[in-house]
């Protein structure tokens, strides 16, 4: 039996690979950014879409990856590869640490606790401006942005590197959600008490999922620093916790490819709006309200539901 879900997602990757040669320069750069941010959104989706943890503090994990890579690179002269790894570890560790505390709560309290932790981290970045350069941010010079001999400041290299990271994240996510552990994550989302009475410890399951979510977020943050050469406090603010939620809701929470789709749509929607008005974030607000009212399952979620049994096969 052919693995239709794998096929559909490999198809998406093939299209993105072909786009490397087809896209004009502006869109080539834009899609590279979308790919990196989609990894962040996929991380958010693991926590929210699959496991049901509504976090408002994911910017903390993203920023941990961002600064975890940018600071060693600029302050301590680490190489690109080690800095990337450091960012990844920072995001993961931060998620595990926050999870140990925040997962003692649930629902609305969990949301507020994660928001508070992220806010504290954001303020810390401002407070330690001597090293983090606060609002102004760290600009990483081109010579530092090398990983394993590849120059990530180069547009073409950057696109392919972003696609590689995205492909790894996408396939890992696909594998995860179809594995037994993915089933347990969904069980936590659907009915925690029932899952507990099947012998699963909700705390450890959710902690594992949140840590994994942190790994994705940290990887995206670290990659962002190296590829786009910038780490600033605005990327740690509450808006960067809300954006991945929006992307996931738009593309379809609990679908593997949804976060990418949502991120892509939203990126171009804001891009388009900025030509019309300075109040570009109005788009974010309207999109959020419209989504919860009219399309709570998002694009791919709605599609999957329409397709019924076929939908569950093609779009896990």
């Amino acid at each position: 039996m052919t693995d239709r879900a794998l096929l559909s997602h490999l198809g998406l990757l093939a299209v993105l690979f072909a786009a490397h040669w087809l896209l004009p320069a502006y869109h080539h750069d834009a899609v590279a950014k979308v790919l990196v941010l989609s990894v962040y959104a996929m991380g958010y989706n693991i926590a929210f879409g699959y496991t049901g943890m509504l976090s408002l503090g994911h910017a903390l994990f993203f920023a941990a990856g961002l600064y975890g890579a940018a600071m060693p690179l600029t302050l301590w002269g680490w190489t690109g590869g080690t800095a990337l790894a450091a960012g990844l570890v920072a995001g993961t560790a931060m998620a595990a640490a926050v999870g140990l505390l925040a997962l003692r709560t649930r629902g609305v309290s969990f949301m507020i606790v994660t928001l508070m932790f992220a806010q504290a981290f954001y303020l810390t970045i401002l407070y330690l401006g001597r090293w983090t350069r606060g609002d102004e941010g760290i600009v990483i010079a081109q010579p530092l942005r090398q990983v394993a001999g590849f120059d990530l400041s180069n547009g073409a290299t950057r696109y392919l590197a972003a696609l590689l990271l995205f492909a790894l994240a996408l396939l890992l996510c696909l594998r995860l959600v179809r594995a037994p552990f993915g089933r347990v994550m969904v069980a936590m989302r659907e009915n925690e008490e029932r899952a507990r009475m099947l012998g699963y410890n909700p705390f450890t399951v959710k902690l594992a999922a949140l840590t994994l979510s942190g790994l994705y977020s940290g990887a995206a943050g670290a990659a962002y620093a190296l590829m786009f050469g910038y780490a600033g406090a605005s990327l740690a603010g509450v808006q960067y916790s809300i954006l991945p939620m929006l992307w996931v809701l738009l593309g379809g929470a609990g679908t593997v490819a949804g976060p990418f789709l949502g991120c892509l749509l939203m990126f171009y929607l804001i891009d388009y709006a900025s030509a019309l008005t300075s109040a570009t974030l109005l788009v974010v607000g309207v999109a959020l309200v419209a989504l919860v009212l009219f399309a709570p399952k998002g694009a791919l979620g709605a599609l999957r539901e329409r397709l019924g049994k076929e939908g569950r096969i093609w779009l896990p």
């Binding site: 508070m116 809300i242 008005t277 109005l282 974010v284 607000g285 919860v292």
Partner: protein, 295 residues
């Protein structure tokens, strides 16, 4: 200044902060307590009140007292109206499902904020105080308007308390808070109670903002701090308990006054500590510092 006068000044400033914060936070506490709605857009109701107060002040540039009195009536009413619309058109249709409501109010936050940016512009604008006199204390003169703010907030909070504890409307609200299904079975129109509660909560934030604009300028991004501080106050006070909310507002306000006036403590550091403290309170004492522990 010597320590004594400095301390007095810090307490005065802190009480002004506490008074405004208490009004704002009580609004948030009402919506959470009665509707179980976490209103992330609450700070924007505050901001809308402030921005509207500026518009009102422009109608009567030479009569700040008249403009102030008018704003005290118009702003909370308009903002409450906006809130009631938001409740009926959005929140009610979501069945007040917690996660959807949070996402929707985040959306509202951006909509209100960006609307203000479009109509009001990106600059901060001052509003003239309704009167200018200084009360001469032994060591320094102090703004009479700020003292008035404390008094006005106190009176308004007393009115809120009377409404909730002593009137039939309050009884209906409390019954709905405890058990909305049973409330319905006794003829209470829960939808109307919810719309009214959301309106009152938003109106309180707006009225706090009208009081504050002569001290602090109106700006389209000014909703963030009151939201965060109200959250802190409501959580520390125990979610949905009015008395706890008041105590916590006083505590946070005074602390803020002391930290920013009397001691040379970096305010960012104080904010970090306060934020972490609140997160830990929620983790280890979810019923708040002054809330009742329920079985």
């Amino acid at each position: 200044m010597d320590f004594g006068p400095l301390l007095l000044l810090a307490i005065l400033e802190g009480t002004v902060t506490a008074a405004v914060l208490a009004l704002t936070a009580v609004g948030l506490s009402l919506t959470f307590g009665i509707m179980r709605v976490v209103n992330v857009a609450h700070g924007e109701f505050f901001m809308l009140g402030a921005v509207l107060a500026w518009f009102v002040s422009q109608w009567f540039p030479d009569a700040p007292l008249l403009a102030f009195l008018l704003a005290m009536v118009i702003c909370p009413l308009v903002v409450a109206g906006v809130a009631v619309l938001a409740d009926v058109l959005i929140l009610k249709r979501l069945n007040y499902e917690p996660e959807a409501t949070i996402v929707a109010t985040i959306g509202l936050l951006y909509i209100f904020q960006q609307a203000a940016l479009s109509f009001f512009g990106p600059n901060a604008r001052p509003v003239a105080p309704p009167f200018n006199f200084r009360v001469q204390l032994p060591w320094f003169g102090y703004s009479g308007y700020k003292l008035f703010v404390i008094l006005a907030a106190g009176v308004l909070l007393l009115l809120v308390w009377l409404l909730i504890a002593r009137t039939k409307i309050g009884l209906v609200m409390r019954a709905t808070q405890i058990d909305r299904t049973t409330a319905r079975a006794f003829g209470i129109n829960v939808d109307r109670v919810y719309a009214m509660t959301f309106g009152i909560g938003a109106g309180l934030a707006a009225i706090a903002a009208v009081l504050v604009v002569p001290i602090q300028q109106a700006h389209y991004l000014m909703g963030g701090d009151p939201l965060l501080l109200s959250f802190i106050v409501v959580i520390l006070g125990g979610l949905g308990t009015l008395r706890g909310t008041l105590i916590a507002a006083l505590l946070i306000g005074l602390l803020d006054g002391l930290l920013s006036t009397a001691f040379f403590f970096p305010p960012t550091f104080a904010k970090i500590m306060a934020t972490l403290l609140v997160a830990l309170v929620l983790v280890f004492r979810p019923e708040g510092l002054f809330g009742r522990r329920t079985a």
